[in-house]
């Protein structure tokens, strides 16, 4: 029995293969008889398809097949389903327009897939795709969600003539309005949460194959939840039994939400593989990813906070228009509602909150969950309001937050969530200290002497992770359960293979989960391997998103471990001729209470597989257990971020001088990995605030369609971060864990924009705060 593994900075088990080029990402898989697919995509944001001439493409060198929407219709393939039903303010279901695998008579955004060309090589497929002649009749397009609801706006779908998917609301509007009418002070902001393009560095890819030998399909795909991919594809689109489809998501090069979904390309290559009886591989190039990956955010919001004269929050009123893009992506509908409005209490005791959300179709790529998914948008609303209110009331923003913190747990918010535990003073106080807020005034004066503008901003975020109690999710419209599954297979000589339904695409589960198991079993981490990402190996899984892996997937593994240890107890009792009730277990050692008798876990495992001396009358041989875990509540990571910027008024360039993040993720298994997750989240949040902004022109052409036009942060755009944690263990899972994957992206945009607006002395500024945006704001301020 070695040193405890939980809480240790252990280097990652997966690194060797990634560092030596031995990773196996989807595009690295080439199967015998491999063919290649290329998609013909719409160059128009909105158009009727009058005709498609595939003759030239079909005759081109190496081409094996060309498929259009007619082939998909003839094959009776269903459209892509949406996994979450939102019921509107009138009790009506949201509008769910068909989302075809290949366009049926109409295209609705630039990049909408129109045809699939399959050829012997990728180059031949791409060449031939250029030869598919589509006769379009262009239609007027609309890209802005507010404009899409205006009278006379072009309608995308027959079933939603006003382009409205739903109008949804939460909270007691009458009570909120009454509180506002009596408030000593009201702070109001009109905020835009800019549209983002996820940009995992591995582009999406899918490689479908079919075996006539057993009438089964295999799909290799860059995806975050292979079982859900399979469930949606078989049950809702292809009408296949699940046991005939294997989905493999091996090494996946980043996801950030964009690889949660079932995409049309995944279905098309799988279906096509059977038609030509050869595997069909499609790999997006970056330009294709930009137009066809699900985008994130894109909210327009009017937000108001009512306060009393002492800065105590009385009520919040929020009205948001959310752009869903042209079609409903897999979880699009729950992001601006269930994952957004329920977080508007933040860390505060605001007693009354009302939020109304209007979700709108536009001629843009579908919008869905992107790192944080709804929670960054909520945090942006809450924390921009709070900081602005503090400035208006001339209160210290940290003090303003302290006056309103929730301190009694469990705490029922007015927007459905029940926070189990938290300690918001701890993270705020630590962040204030670590950021040296006390020395800020001197630094600001020093900047001013050099003609520079310095600003300081806070954000105290909360998120709901560990999605979700299935019954709660179901009552809110989820069409799936949200549990997780795990299996522990103990081998005869005591080493262990763990199968998890969680999926790692950078998070390091092969290490973190192995730490949990090896710690509990008192063995070296080398003796534990984690397997994920293959429906033929893993019993079931709901996948990885919403920072749920350790809280839900990790707990499923713990539950399976409980069963292993309990069975081992029975075996150990038999081996040591003691009563089962007298057997104690601690990290790999079974002892008989009050004696020096002991059996090591490895001996017990061996006895289970070589059961010569074994309680056969009471127990089956073998040591292999699985568990499903459905959480009883969400987890609530929270923390405070402090950002300090210096702005050059001549160029408008913002330099982040200090970025301090203090998070409470509950118990931490591997601090090295957790720090890395925070760094990455911060970079994406800072990207949103400083450099990233998806732009369509008025005709629906994507203007920011490459790394040259859409700026994800480079190394020299970012500072080194100061990160630390405080541990308030989650009360309802055995590890006390909360999840850490999204926090950085949730808290950082508000902290950064609070700092920039502070430096500039302006109330608001649109994201991204590029040098041009900042410079213009300064000119306007000077002019005013």
């Amino acid at each position: 029995m070695g040193a405890p593994l939980i809480g240790a900075r252990i280097q990652r088990k997966e690194d060797y293969r990634f560092l030596t080029g031995a990773g196996q990402y989807t595009d690295d898989v080439t199967l015998p008889g491999q063919t290649y697919g290329a998609f013909v995509r719409s160059p128009h944001a909105h158009a009727k398809i009058k005709s498609i001439d595939i003759a030239k493409a079909k005759a081109a060198k190496g081409v094996l097949a060309v498929y259009t929407g007619d082939d998909i219709a003839a094959a009776k393939l269903g459209g892509l389903p949406c996994g979450w039903l939102i019921t509107d303010v009138n009790g009506q279901p949201m509008k769910e327009p068909p989302h075809p695998i290949l366009a049926q008579g109409k295209v609705r955004y630039v990049g909408d897939q129109v045809a699939l060309v399959v050829a012997e090589t990728q180059a031949q497929a791409r060449d031939a795709a250029e030869l598919v002649d589509v006769d379009y009749e262009a239609l007027p397009a609309v890209v802005d969600a507010v404009k899409a609801r205006a009278k006379g706006a072009p309608a995308l779908h027959d079933i939603a003539p006003d382009n409205t998917c739903y109008v949804w609301a939460i909270g007691d509007k009458a009570a909120v309005d009454a509180a506002f009418s009596k408030a000593a002070h009201v702070t109001k902001l009109e905020l835009v949460n800019n549209r983002l393009i996820p940009n995992a560095i591995e582009p999406r890819a899918a490689n479908g194959s079919f075996s006539r030998a057993d009438d089964s399909y295999t799909l290799y795909v860059a995806n975050q939840n292979p079982h859900v991919e399979r469930l949606l594809m078989t049950a809702f689109v292809m009408g296949l039994p699940e046991h005939k489809v294997r989905v493999v998501a091996g090494d996946v090069g980043g996801g950030f939400g964009s690889k949660i979904y079932l995409y049309a390309e995944d279905v098309a290559v799988t279906w096509a593989a059977k038609q030509i009886n050869r595997p069909v591989k499609w790999t997006a190039d970056r330009s294709e990813s930009y137009v066809s990956d699900a985008h994130g955010r894109d909210h327009q919001t009017v937000a108001e906070l009512a306060l009393d004269k002492d800065g105590k929050f009385l009520a919040m009123r929020v009205k948001t228009t959310a752009n869903l893009g042209a079609y409903l992506s897999t979880f699009a509908s729950c992001v601006p509602t269930i994952l957004y409005a329920t977080l508007l209490a933040g860390q505060y005791t605001t007693p009354l909150i009302h939020c109304e959300v209007t979700a709108v179709f536009t001629n843009t790529a579908p919008v869905d969950a992107y790192r944080g998914a709804g929670r960054p948008e909520a945090t942006y609303v809450v924390e921009r309001l709070v900081e602005t209110a503090a400035r208006e009331l001339k209160l210290d923003p940290a003090e303003m937050r302290r006056r309103n913190f929730i301190r009694n747990f469990p705490y029922q918010t007015p927007v459905a969530l029940l926070y189990d535990i938290g300690n918001y003073d701890a993270t705020l106080d630590a962040a204030v200290k670590m950021a040296d807020v006390a020395g800020y005034a001197a630094r600001k004066a020093e900047s001013a002497r050099r003609g520079k503008l310095r600003g300081l901003g806070y954000a105290a975020y909360i998120e709901a992770c560990g999605i979700a109690p299935s019954a709660v999710a179901g009552s809110l419209g989820a069409r799936a359960g949200l549990f997780e599954a795990g299996e522990i297979r103990v081998h005869p000589t005591g080493s262990v293979t763990v199968f998890t339904g969680s999926h790692s695409h950078g998070q390091g589960h092969e290490t973190t989960f192995a730490q949990v198991v090896a710690d509990r079993l008192g063995m070296a981490i080398e003796n534990v391997d984690i397997v994920h990402g293959d429906t033929s190996k893993i019993l079931f899984g709901m996948g990885t998103y919403g920072s749920r892996s350790i809280a839900v997937g990790g707990t499923a593994i713990m539950k399976a471990l409980d069963k292993i240890i309990a069975k081992g107890k029975k075996i150990a009792a038999h081996l040591m001729e003691a009563a089962e009730t007298d057997i104690e277990y601690d990290r790999g050692v079974y002892t008989v209470k009050g004696t020096d008798k002991k059996k090591m876990f490895g001996e017990v495992a061996f006895a289970a597989y070589v059961p010569h001396n074994y309680p056969h009358d009471k127990l089956e041989p073998g040591l292999n257990e699985n568990a499903f875990y459905d959480p009883s509540n969400f987890t609530f990571p929270a923390g405070t971020y402090v950002c300090e910027v210096e702005i050059d008024p001549d160029t408008g360039k913002t330099k982040i001088e200090r970025f301090t993040a203090v998070d409470d993720f509950g118990k931490i298994i591997n601090p090295m990995i957790v720090d890395g997750q925070v760094h990455g989240g911060l970079a994406q949040g800072i990207g949103q605030a400083l450099t990233e902004g998806c732009q369509y022109d008025a005709n629906g052409q994507l203007v920011t369609g490459s790394f040259m036009d859409y700026c994800i942060p480079r190394a020299d755009d970012l500072p080194s971060f100061q990160v630390d944690t405080r541990e308030t263990p989650c009360t309802h899972n055995p590890l006390g864990v909360k999840g850490c994957g999204e926090a950085g992206a949730i808290g950082s945009p508000a902290a950064l924009m609070n700092a920039i607006t502070d430096a500039l002395g302006v109330k608001d500024l649109p994201m991204p705060a590029t040098p041009q945006t900042v410079w213009r704001a300064l000119q306007n301020r000077t002019a005013a």
């Binding site: 990634f18 090069g253 990455g680 790394f707």
Partner: protein, 159 residues
């Protein structure tokens, strides 16, 4: 038109018939099945395809395979020792958690090794500037910067 190309890859002779338009990265990945070199973009921005040509880091998506004719190519598969021991730069990435999903990693390591050869004691700012052509979406670069500083130091000590 197909052309025959020959070069040295990871110390061994390699040759194949390829279309003239074949990119170096496509030759490495498809003809030689060296899939550790990745393609993350189509505008020479992300650097996931970085390899060494005659000892210098190049983006293999931005040159034709024909242009490397007769050259000496090193890919990520050829960086560790023959017995599997990691190169000091690879070891530094592992030690400092300089990778998450691993997709940008081969290009990062190849660029970092070339950079460290001429910058044995780089400052943080020099490292950040040297990463201008390599994009990572997972790490926020924080630990990559630390890894390269440590890897450069280890390389300088070893040589």
């Amino acid at each position: 038109m197909a052309v025959r190309i020959s070069m040295k890859v990871n110390g061994k002779p390699a040759s194949a018939e390829v279309e003239e338009r074949t990119l170096l990265v496509t030759f490495l990945r498809e003809a030689l099945r060296l899939t550790g070199t990745h393609v993350g973009c189509d505008t020479a921005q992300c650097g996931a395809c970085t390899v060494h040509l005659n000892g210098r880091a190049v983006k293999s998506c931005s040159m034709l395979a024909m242009q490397a004719e007769g050259g000496d190519i090193l890919t990520i598969e050829g960086v560790a020792k023959a017995d599997g021991t990691l190169h000091p730069m690879q070891a530094a990435f592992k030690e400092h958690h300089g990778l998450q999903c691993g997709f940008c990693t081969p290009g990062m390591v190849m660029n970092a090794i070339d950079f460290a050869k001429s910058n044995p004691h780089p400052s943080e700012q020099q490292i950040r500037e040297a990463l201008e052509g390599n994009l990572c979406r997972c790490t926020g670069y924080h630990n990559i910067v630390k890894a390269i500083a440590a890897g450069a130091k280890a390389m300088a000590t070893a040589s």
